[in-house]
């Protein structure tokens, strides 16, 4: 039987990285949000509590947080000439399910950005001013350390707006430091 629920302002499809961050930002604006996610609800306590969470066999080897292959199956091939076959157990990539989705077991490797990456990005892709309003969003919410320092133009402390209103990146300071080491 269809049950009519109280209307809300926003519904997110999925409550993992994107869904939860979007919901958080929208909630700060005062909107009411419902997030839809398949699988179990998971919370810091007791689901991520030590020592049970350090169970390597259960989570790392047996893929305890991933989608159930008997319910969600995909086929896979390495090139056009192969016949695509079902992935019977997750190996090469690991889609998650449950509250937090793939984000709670996010296992990508994020190498620390080098000085050159910031220079390249600044000049060729995205002007810093377009990232500025959002740059803390993901890192703060996820509790991760942000490697991107606030724009600080004139060698000032990162996070302080330069007095001349111009924009600069913290990497300039690091560039100088690196040069010094080399010479």
């Amino acid at each position: 039987m269809v049950q009519r629920l109280k209307p809300v302002d926003v519904v997110t499809i999925g409550v993992e990285l994107t869904g939860s961050l979007a919901a958080l930002e929208l909630a700060k604006e005062g909107l009411t949000i419902v997030g839809l996610e398949r699988g179990a609800a998971r919370f810091t306590v007791p689901d991520f509590q030590s020592p049970a969470i350090h169970d390597e066999l259960r989570f790392s080897i047996r893929k305890g947080m991933m989608q159930d292959n008997t319910k969600v199956a995909v086929t896979f091939r390495n090139n056009w000439n192969e016949t695509a076959l079902p992935i019977r157990r997750w190996e090469s990539f690991l889609p998650g399910q449950g509250l937090g989705g793939s984000f709670v077991h996010w296992n990508g490797q994020s190498f620390r950005a080098q000085v050159a990456d910031f220079i390249y990005k600044t000049h060729h892709e995205q002007p810093p001013s377009t990232i500025e309003p959002y740059k803390h969003c993901g890192s703060m919410t996820a509790g991760r350390q942000c490697t991107m320092k606030s724009p600080s133009r004139t060698g000032g402390r990162p996070g302080r707006k330069p007095s001349d209103g111009s924009l600069n990146w913290g990497f300039r300071q690091r560039t100088r430091a690196l040069t010094k080491v080399k010479t």
Partner: protein
């Protein structure tokens, strides 16, 4: 380790939990992963039956260590058919289960008294290394701790750990 393997085969993993077991069936490339219709328990039983038949003259347990090594190598090399299970597939499963049994937490039935962790100096399931994070080059030689024990050394078996179900 045999205790661990028995428990695993009789438990959820052994009976094919989270293993997609519908068609299409055909041998894939090694990169396409496991493609047999057997659950881990069926795979072990089928292969062991074939091995027992093949070695009916001299059972594996009665061979000398050198002969045993040689036989295992012949399985690992592939090309052997064990009642429909390729020898190398069985060898891989046996090898992985052996590693798991020896090195996984004692709650799973192997690694009694954390003997393998003591051997390699692995501290086990400590909750936090907060006070050690910025100390480098120091030796960590505390005795290991299992998932089932708390900081006071008391053992609390967690009934939600799957391998403990019968």
């Amino acid at each position: 380790v045999p205790n661990y393997i028995d428990k695993q085969l009789a438990g959820a993993w052994g009976t094919g939990e989270r293993l997609y077991r519908s068609g299409p069936w055909q041998p894939g490339t090694p990169k396409q992963g496991y493609q047999l219709p057997l659950t881990p328990a069926e795979l072990f039983h089928t292969a062991l039956r074939a091995i027992n038949q093949e070695l009916s003259q001299t059972p594996f347990a009665q061979m000398s260590s050198d002969q045993q090594d040689e036989y295992l190598k012949s399985l690992e090399g592939g090309g052997k058919d064990l009642g429909g299970v390729p020898g190398d597939v069985f060898f891989t499963h046996l090898w992985e289960c052996t590693l798991e049994g020896f090195f996984s937490d004692p709650v799973y039935g192997g690694n009694r008294n954390m003997v393998s962790w003591r051997m390699i100096g692995f501290p086990g399931a400590y909750a936090s290394y907060y006070d050690l994070v910025d100390q480098h080059g120091i030796k960590i030689d505390r005795s290991p701790t299992s998932l089932a024990e708390d900081v006071h050394g008391r053992v609390h078996m967690n009934p939600n750990i799957p391998a403990r179900s019968p």
